[in-house]
């Protein structure tokens, strides 16, 4: 092998770089995400399986419909049959955060874990942080 030192240094650097996620995770235990669930309510706006992946789309629709078309009432899509209290006001802070009282221990905790930072809170103010 020619230029042994340089080539080996390059290969080692490459492997360290390519396995960076392993090093960054090293020595940290995998903790399951624990979220603070609402105390009294049992169900979310839509079934929880749908909410997990789709809540941002729901919010997007709410925002557009409420702000642009002034349609502020929402009836659950997936719960329609056989449920009574499945009507909501389309509101980020007044609806979502009415049940999910602690934004930090619910929305934020999950978002930190998933690496998302919704920009909504640049304008909207979560209840417990009211000035």
């Amino acid at each position: 092998m020619y230029n042994k030192k340089a080539v080996l240094a390059g290969v080692v650097a490459f492997i360290i770089l390519m396995t960076a996620p392993f090093w960054l995770n090293a020595g940290r235990e995998h903790k399951k995400l624990e979220l603070e669930k609402p105390q009294f309510e049992k169900e979310c706006v839509e079934p929880i399986k749908w909410m997990r992946a789709g809540h941002m789309q729901l919010l997007d629709n709410w925002r557009n419909e409420a702000v642009r078309e002034s349609k502020r009432d929402y009836t659950s899509e997936h719960f329609k049959a056989g449920h009574d209290n499945k009507k909501f006001k389309k509101s980020l802070t007044l609806t979502c955060l009415d049940c999910h009282k602690n934004k930090k221990k619910f929305c934020d905790k999950c978002h930190t874990y998933a690496g998302v930072k919704p920009y909504c809170w640049e304008c909207h103010v979560a209840p417990e942080e009211k000035i």
Binding site: P21, L24, L33, T112, A114
Partner: protein, 342 residues
């Protein structure tokens, strides 16, 4: 033909992984194949590099297009004709990060005459550089799934990439750009006759595979949504060396497994394909040698050390008598009469 083969191969990969998901081979798809792919990628890549490093470089062959280092009053073009390791590294840096040599790309047209016309063509450079940078940004953004706690640079990339704040989940510009640019790179190989002529399945397949990876990712993010928390458990588990298969990915989990399977295929394919140019650029003697042959003698490693150099002087010593007898001119005459000595 080669196009069709590549297309069928990519669809085959999608179909295979989809079927494996259907029959519930989640451990294979989510743990065994990804780990195997990473090992093949690292091992294969290292092997290829070592293999190249074992090939001798008989000549000093850096490509240059500028004045080499010479007399002090002749201006040396340090980037185009690097003569020190530092200058070689500077040129290599610009090559790797900005594709400097591709910037000089030309296209050839046969005009009436008949006359060949060479004109500057920056589109391949533009397509190439945009493709590689968006690919990098997308992979770095994926670190939010790989690492816990999420590293800070991810948020920076997310906010820049999602700058236009359209749709929720926030639309990333790189998602659109990578699809457009890979499509362009593909179409380029189809519509330009000369390029089509030299394109093989090995050229179409990686493009289509990367396109399929990007499309499944985009589909997963915006349409067939999966539970990212479940995905992170799986992916972070892989990178924390404590793999788990969570059962809460949602009803569209198959799209995640297809995405992961295609990425694994790319990793396995990498070391055995032209994608090795990633390591190859550093191993190219035309790029990694300094142009200093006037200062340092390049020893051909093929030379047998037992064969000593034989100078003209020694040659004349060996054959002086014979040479003189046929009247050949000599540097040094036997009789001591110096003839033409310098």
């Amino acid at each position: 033909m080669s196009m069709l083969v590549s297309l069928i191969a990519v669809f085959g990969l999608v179909a295979v992984s989809y079927m494996m998901e259907l029959v519930g081979l989640h451990t294979v798809l989510g743990i065994i194949i990804p780990y195997t792919a990473v090992l093949v990628f690292l091992g294969g890549f290292t092997y290829r590099i070592i293999d190249w490093a074992r090939s001798p470089v008989p000549f000093k062959i850096p490509t240059t297009c500028g004045q080499q280092e010479s007399l002090s009053w002749i201006k040396h073009n340090k980037l185009e004709s690097p003569s020190t390791t530092g200058q070689v590294m500077a040129r290599m840096f610009l090559e790797v990060f900005f594709f400097r040599s591709l910037f000089r790309n030309t296209k050839t047209d046969a005009t009436e005459g008949p006359r060949l016309l060479y004109t500057s063509d920056k589109f391949l450079w533009l397509g190439g550089i945009v493709f590689h940078w968006t690919f990098l940004v997308i992979v770095l953004r994926h670190f939010r799934l790989f690492v816990e706690p999420v590293p800070g640079f991810v948020h920076l990339l997310e906010s820049v990439d999602g700058f236009i704040q359209l749709t929720l989940p926030t639309f990333y510009m790189t998602d659109m750009v990578i699809v457009l640019v890979v499509t362009y790179l593909f179409i380029r190989r189809v519509v330009i006759p000369q390029v089509k002529y030299i394109s093989l399945a090995a050229d179409f397949f990686p493009l289509l595979l990367i396109l399929a990876i990007a499309l499944t990712g985009i589909l997963m993010r915006y349409i067939l949504k999966v539970n990212i928390v479940g995905v992170k458990e799986l992916v972070h588990g892989l990178f924390a060396l404590s793999p788990v298969i969570p059962d809460n990915l949602g009803s569209t989990a198959y799209i995640f497994y297809i995405h992961l399977f295609l990425v694994s295929s790319l990793l396995v394919y990498f070391p055995f394909s032209k994608l090795m140019h990633m390591g190859g650029v550093f191993m190219s003697p035309t790029r990694n040698l300094p142009n200093d042959s006037r200062k340092h003698r390049h020893i051909n490693p093929w030379n047998d050390p037992n064969i000593k150099p034989h100078s003209y002087e020694a040659y004349e010593d060996d054959f002086r008598k014979v040479m003189k007898s046929v009247g050949l001119p000599l540097e040094k005459d036997v009789d001591g009469e110096e003839e033409g000595e310098k």
